[in-house]
């Protein structure tokens, strides 16, 4: 029986990846939830906004790399991130001006905006592929691991390794900082409160002297920043591929919905619920049980509840159960 090894194995394959993936989803879901709460529609273009922002970051990263700039053991992309964000802000503000503003002013129904955002998705989609291509892009440099599995084994003498990637570290730290900033902004600043007011009641916000266009502008800026950060972190940790970013939309939306659409806290919780339900339910306990069970009683089979073929299916079942208990999502009411 070897609880320590069991715990390390679990951390290595479930906890750490789950937290990193959860943070990435949470950042994505925050963007979706803000647009939903303040601009009042489900923004299908979010995945591709992430792709666009990340693409800009990558291009600048390459530029820096060719200029010999770097951040030491941290990825150069972090240095390029502000430029990516700036690009995404311009992009979204431009899109808003050309596309969304019209419908907002016409008081079009949200569903129209949803379909419009689908159109925007298609366009972003084409542009991204046009500029950077459809292929995988790896733009990670710097040191790959804070601690690799092999080092860990050597260091501790345990059988199991614990890998902690630099990108995972960065992801988690960045997510915490960003989320804290966002909450401070929404709840404590005048601009943040005016966003919540606008989200609650547009007409009354107007009658209180709040300038709606300013609210919209700030929202898009925040969303652009969130999308670019989420996209870049994801791309660093995994890889950048336009198609995957479109696919990310599904888990992101699922996260936003279980969390309670429109609720930032919910988006974060939702991100983790999704990430962990994907990773844990189909986990094969053979290895862990092998350590925990007494000698000679180690399991033969995989001890897997469901094959990973069903990981999405299962994670959706989990969502359904969560919603069965909390029909309005985890955090409805404390919305933006």
């Amino acid at each position: 029986m070897d609880l320590l090894n069991a715990f390390i194995a679990l951390s290595n394959y479930v906890l750490i990846p789950g937290i990193a993936y959860g943070s990435q989803l949470a950042l994505g879901a925050l963007g979706v939830t803000l647009v939903y709460g303040i601009l009042r529609f489900s923004n299908f273009a979010h995945g591709d906004t992430m792709a666009m922002g990340t693409m800009a970051t990558i291009l600048v990263t390459w530029l820096f790399q060719s200029m010999g700039l770097s951040l030491g053991f941290l990825p150069t992309a972090l240095l390029a991130l502000p430029f990516g964000i700036a690009f995404a802000i311009l992009l979204l503000l431009g899109t808003d001006k050309v596309v969304y503003k019209f419908y907002r002013e016409q008081k079009a129904k949200p569903v129209i905006l949803v379909i419009v955002s689908l159109g925007v998705t298609f366009i972003y989609n084409g542009i991204t592929r046009f500029i950077i291509g459809a292929d995988d892009q790896n733009f990670l440099d710097g040191q790959r691991f804070i601690m690799s599995a092999r080092d860990f084994k050597q260091m501790t003498g345990l059988d199991e390794g614990l890998a902690f990637k630099t990108t995972q570290g960065i992801t988690i730290v960045t997510a915490i900082i960003v989320v804290a900033l966002l909450f401070w902004f929404l709840n404590k600043t005048r601009a943040g409160k005016s966003m919540r007011a606008y989200s609650d009641n547009e007409d009354l916000a107007l009658l209180s002297g709040i300038n709606p266009e300013r609210v919209v502008m700030i929202t898009w800026m925040i969303v652009a920043a969130l999308a670019t950060i989420a996209g870049t972190l994801y791309g660093l940790d995994k890889s950048f591929k336009p198609f995957t970013y479109f696919q990310l939309l599904l888990p992101i939306f699922a996260a936003a919905i279980v969390g309670g659409l429109g609720s930032p806290v919910g988006a974060i919780a939702g991100g983790f619920v999704i990430a962990f339900s994907e990773v844990t339910i189909t986990y094969a306990w053979k290895k862990v049980l092998g350590y925990v069970m007494p000698e000679g009683m180690e399991p033969d089979g995989l001890v897997q509840l469901m094959s990973t073929d069903y990981k999405f299916a299962v994670s959706f079942v989990i969502l359904l159960i969560v919603l069965l208990i909390k029909p309005t999502g985890l955090f409805k009411g404390k919305s933006v």
Binding site: F41, K107, A108, K193, R196, S199, N201, G209, N211, G333
Partner: protein, 273 residues
């Protein structure tokens, strides 16, 4: 087809979009103001207006109020009282007529700019931020103020003690009458130069209504003109300096509050005998 070309029917599904709180005020670019000296402090002068592309609701209707005055608008349901208020506030397109404030023609201004000019308005419906706490509602009322508004807030709490108790509760969870108090409180927070109230006492209990009227009188006495629509017409007219009876979008009777109260025809047709 409906008057509202883009407003689809229903479909309030919450996962697609969030129809909650969606505005109805069509945005408009703010025009210029120009001086128009003389006349009352605030006047909506021979206004003709309607919704979207629909028919005229107001027909050459005039409403005015001067410093330190309380003007009350009464009339049957659907007469256009609320429409008149909205028109004065620039929330609909005026087809004819002018709005003048303090010697300035503000017909072309957008509602936000009117707020900045010192107009305060409590609409008849959806007049609070339901998801924000009572206190935040009041803060939003003071949004355009850059000075310290804690005093004003204390005054509002004095006026409506229940709000102080429910300070940290979401306003949407309040009872009908409590919401009404929040709404008026929010407008008071603006410290407006002119206050417009659309049925502020609808649904409030007699004791609160009395207090509300008391407070309105006090506010008026500080020199702030008050323009309000009321269905509790007898009480309202008693404190009114000026009364308007609107019928089908036009001025039917105008006079001091007392005159209107004394007019048997008005009493019978509009004040419930």
């Amino acid at each position: 087809m409906s008057n509202d070309p883009y407003g689809d029917r229903g479909n309030k599904d919450w996962s697609v979009g969030n129809a909650k709180g969606q505005g109805s005020i069509m945005p408009k670019a703010s025009g210029k103001t120009h001086p128009a000296p003389g006349g009352p402090f605030l006047i909506g002068d021979s206004m003709t207006a309607g919704y979207g592309a629909g028919p005229d609701i107001l027909h050459d209707c005039t409403i005015a109020v001067d410093r330190g005055e309380i003007a009350v608008i009464v009339g049957p349901n659907g007469a256009g009282k609320s429409t008149g208020m909205k028109a004065v506030f620039g929330m609909l397109d005026m087809r004819k007529g002018h709005v003048r404030l303090d010697g300035e023609d503000i017909t072309g201004l957008s509602p936000q700019d009117r707020v900045a000019k010192g107009m305060g308005f409590v609409p008849q419906t959806s007049n609070i931020f339901t998801s924000m706490t009572v206190e935040e509602n009041l803060e939003m009322g003071a949004f355009i103020r850059r000075d310290d508004f804690r005093d004003t807030m204390a005054q509002v709490y004095d006026l409506f003690p229940i709000l102080k108790e429910k300070r940290l509760q979401a306003a949407g969870e309040l009872s009908g009458g409590q919401r009404q108090q929040v709404a008026v409180g929010r407008a008071l927070m603006t410290q407006p130069k002119v206050l417009m109230l659309d049925e502020p006492t609808a649904g409030v209990s007699p004791i609160v209504m009395d207090e509300l009227f008391d407070r309105i009188i006090e506010v008026a006495r500080t020199g702030i003109p008050i323009l309000m629509v009321e269905q509790n017409a007898r009480q309202a007219l008693e404190i009114a300096d000026k009364g308007y009876v609107l019928v089908q979008g036009a001025n039917a009777f105008t006079g001091t509050g007392k005159e209107l109260l004394a007019d048997p025809e008005v009493r019978k047709s509009f004040l419930g005998g």
